[in-house]
């Protein structure tokens, strides 16, 4: 922040939290460690939700039927992020994406990658909504959403 012409107080709030994953998220993220993506199936509408959920927010019933879902899917939407912000998942540029994994009924939020992202004109030639994509795993998996490094074009 640049200096103001008037008197200000600069303050910063740093607050430590420790939040429980709960049973469903724990099992989902443990799955990522083992290169497995889990969803759960709603017992009423039959939708397969991914990441796994404890309940279906539409039917409001338990979604407790666990399924391992495909690591291949279709790119639904993407955006080419070329600026830095607090909490960004990796150094820009990166490509925020919605991906419909095969056999599931919701979109999975992640990143696209696996090719040179630096030149946007080149990126535009490679990446197209509707293209088939596949998960690429990190070698250093910690039970975190970025255990999947990104999805790459197939």
């Amino acid at each position: 922040m640049e200096a103001k012409e008037y008197k200000t107080i600069k303050t910063e709030i740093r607050l430590p939290y420790e939040l429980a994953y709960g049973a469903t998220w724990t099992r989902f993220f443990e799955g990522l460690k083992n290169k497995t993506i889990y969803g759960t199936k709603c017992t009423k509408c039959g939708r397969i939700l991914v990441p796994a959920r404890s309940f279906c927010p539409r039917c409001f019933v338990d979604a407790d039927q666990w399924v391992e879902v495909s690591q291949v899917g279709t790119l639904i939407a993407w955006c080419y992020t070329n600026y830095k912000y607090f909490g960004m998942p990796t150094e820009p540029p990166f490509i925020g994406s919605l991906i419909r994994l095969n056999g599931t009924d919701v979109n999975f939020l992640h990143l696209m990658g696996g090719f040179d992202l630096n030149n946007f004109d080149e990126v535009k030639k490679i990446i197209k909504s509707g293209m088939k994509v596949e998960a690429v795993w990190s070698d250093d998996r910690k039970g975190h959403i970025m255990d999947i490094k990104y999805f790459r074009p197939l």
Binding site: I76, A77, G87, G96, I145
Partner: protein, 380 residues
């Protein structure tokens, strides 16, 4: 909704950075709205505020800090977080209980002091999944924009025209924070922060203390020459995770239908004379035209091209410049109400639309890509 609750006075401050502190800004706008209504603090029955805590203010339980700036000492007062338009609904409901003749509704936000909108909106994300992928309101909007353009053939130029219109309208609004005469090329040539969005298609971060006084029908007739009646309101909430939602078939239609039903409106494209809507990203204004029933699904771009929503159009949308010109993040929905009230009263100054305004619409939204929508219908 028959003539039960009226807005009898409104006040707001300027959106650009101010050297005043939050506390004094809030006091000043409360004083101004009371003066305009010819009232004192003692005439106010109940107070509802809309604000947010740490991320949008740097203080926790912010309402305990600012209550006295709203004149709430010894009164029944409560605070609403999230979409500020709800504070108007709650104020109206309290008067409809018959226990209060007046309510002060105030939205408080001093954007220039806070971290960027992206920092704040990253914190909406659940800490396990979406936050790890860096989801912000801007990223959700960019994904939604891509879907919208690809599904309906809406062009980047049509999206940019919203920014041209609203930043241009902002020139007539002395309170607007960001304004100027731009071309479509200027908008599309501005920094490509997160393709398909460019910098001039993203709302700024503004100040916004916004106050209104509501009154019962009996009280309104005593104190106001030009009461503006709350005719209807409605809202609707979508699922939380952006991947669970159809980002092109959101909840605005539900929210608007509920408000129209309460107001007895069956043909909004004919009955609404002016609309002030919340479009933090330019293309969203086109999508919201569709959700509000001003045109069919996918026709927002063509409606923009036709001039329907321009200053001289059938339904001018955002004659104040909207949220692209002024974005007090927390109070922007209530600010839309203030602008709609000024249009109905014929007191909008240079931004007054060149037509008779009998019925106006105010809209607010919050959450990723319009998770929550709220609509109010106001009229003479």
């Amino acid at each position: 909704m028959a003539k039960q609750v009226a807005i009898v006075a409104v006040a707001q401050n300027a959106g650009a950075e101010s050297k005043d502190n939050f506390y004094d800004q809030a006091y000043a706008v409360t004083k101004e709205v009371l003066d305009k209504a010819g009232m004192t603090r003692d005439d106010i029955g109940t107070v509802i505020s809309a604000s947010s805590d740490v991320f949008h203010g740097g203080i926790s339980c912010a309402n305990s800090y600012y209550w006295e700036t709203t004149g709430a000492f010894l009164k029944n007062a409560s605070r609403q977080d999230g979409e500020s338009l709800f504070a108007l609904f709650y104020g109206a409901m309290r008067i409809m209980t018959g226990h209060y003749d007046t309510a002060l509704v105030i939205g408080l936000c001093k954007g220039s002091e806070n971290p960027s909108n992206d920092t704040c909106t990253l914190m909406y994300a659940d800490p396990f999944y979406q936050r790890g992928v860096g989801l912000t309101e801007t990223m959700a909007a960019a994904l939604q924009m891509r879907l919208y353009m690809e599904r309906y053939g809406v062009t980047e130029e049509q999206c940019a025209k919203v920014a041209v219109k609203n930043l241009g309208n902002g020139l007539r609004n002395p309170y607007a924070h960001k304004k100027g005469r731009y071309t479509v090329d200027d908008i599309l040539g501005s920094e490509r922060l997160i393709d398909p969005l460019t910098a001039l298609q993203v709302a700024p971060k503004s100040e916004g203390m916004v106050a209104l006084i509501l009154a019962s029908a009996k009280k309104a007739k005593e104190v106001a020459d030009k009461p503006v009646w709350i005719k209807g309101f409605g809202s609707s909430l979508d699922n939380y995770y952006v991947g669970d939602r159809d980002l092109l078939n959101g909840q605005l239609k539900n929210a608007a239908d509920r408000a129209y039903k309460m107001a007895g409106i069956t043909d909004p494209e004919k009955k609404i004379d002016v609309a002030e809507i919340t479009e933090p990203y330019a293309f969203q204004e086109l999508m919201w035209y569709e959700g509000l029933g001003f045109c069919k699904e996918g026709e927002g771009g063509r409606l923009m091209d036709s001039g329907f929503t321009g200053m001289n159009g059938r339904i001018p949308v955002n004659p104040s410049g909207g949220v692209l010109a002024n974005n007090p993040y927390v109070s922007r929905g209530l600010q839309r109400v203030v602008e709609a009230v000024l249009q109905i009263r014929g007191e909008a100054g240079e931004k007054q639309v060149p037509k008779t305004v009998k019925t106006a619409l105010a809209h607010g939204t919050h959450g990723y890509a319009g998770q929550c929508h709220a609509v109010a219908i106001l009229g003479r």
